[in-house]
Amino acid sequence: MKLRLSPQTVLVLDAFLEQPEGWMYGYDLSRVTGLKSGTLYPILIRMAERKLLETQWETMEAGRPPRHMYRFTPEGLRFARANMTSRARGGLDQVALGLVEG
């Protein structure tokens, strides 16, 4: 497995999947996922180290310091989509099981 899928990691993957091609900022991700910096950044670091995420410094207007941005690499996008599919399948299985038991 490329990445341990904790519930927090899944939240981050889902946040990136909302706009798969777009760049996102750390604080925006924190607001979307509800994760604190102490939880969010280790996940981002691990994803970047495993080449699931690419990072870039945003060039802003003069006088403002650049900001770090993140987005999926093609491999990261494939990984997140595969993970989403397997989760959806798992959810459907549970629903089916519930129907059978009910």
């Binding site: 604080y27 604190k36 910096s37 670091i45 990072t55």
Partner: protein, 165 residues
């Protein structure tokens, strides 16, 4: 700028100065986000979480350096590491015994009346040694062995002393 935000920024800048080069990019990224956080207290909590992340990341980098250096430069094998662990355990235990004796013999805290306890003062470090050895046994076996060795030596010394007197 409110005091919590100022503290947050100073904290992150200090951590960035301490962090190795590999952690600097992420640390700077977290610092930049501070400008976009509206609440001062929220900024401080952001900085506290970020500082923890940076220090943990830096610790990982330093651990990697140390491991690399011990293997390549120092050439320390697993026996060497175990010996180092045992030595560390013995040193820690000696330091504790030293402190206990200093309190007892040098009357560092006369108000406590420790001198009246005599050799029973040894019992407290011995209990600490055994508890520490049990706690450390799984993760730091050699250190626990070093502590236990000292516990044994001190225990034997006490037994011999009590028998002789």
């Amino acid at each position: 700028m409110g005091a919590p935000r100022g503290l947050a920024e100073r904290l992150l800048r200090a951590v960035i100065r301490l962090a190795p080069g590999e952690s600097t990019e992420w640390a700077t990224a977290m610092l930049r986000e501070l400008d976009f956080i509206e609440g001062d207290w929220e900024a401080l909590f952001w900085a506290l979480g970020s500082a923890t992340v940076i220090l943990r990341h830096a610790a990982g980098v330093w651990r990697g350096w140390f491991k690399g250096r011990t293997k390549e430069d120092v050439g320390m094998n697993s026996t060497g590491k175990k010996a180092l662990g045992v030595g560390l355990g013995i040193f820690s235990a000696l330091a504790l015994i030293g402190c206990a004796f200093a309190m007892l013999r040098l009357y560092l805290f006369p108000g406590l009346g420790l001198y009246r306890l005599g050799w029973t003062v040894i019992v407290i470090p011995e209990v600490i040694f055994i508890v520490a050895a049990v706690v450390l046994w799984r993760k730091r076996g050699p250190v626990a062995a070093g502590i236990l060795t000292m516990a044994l030596v001190v225990g034997l010394h006490l037994a011999v002393h009590l028998t002789a007197h």
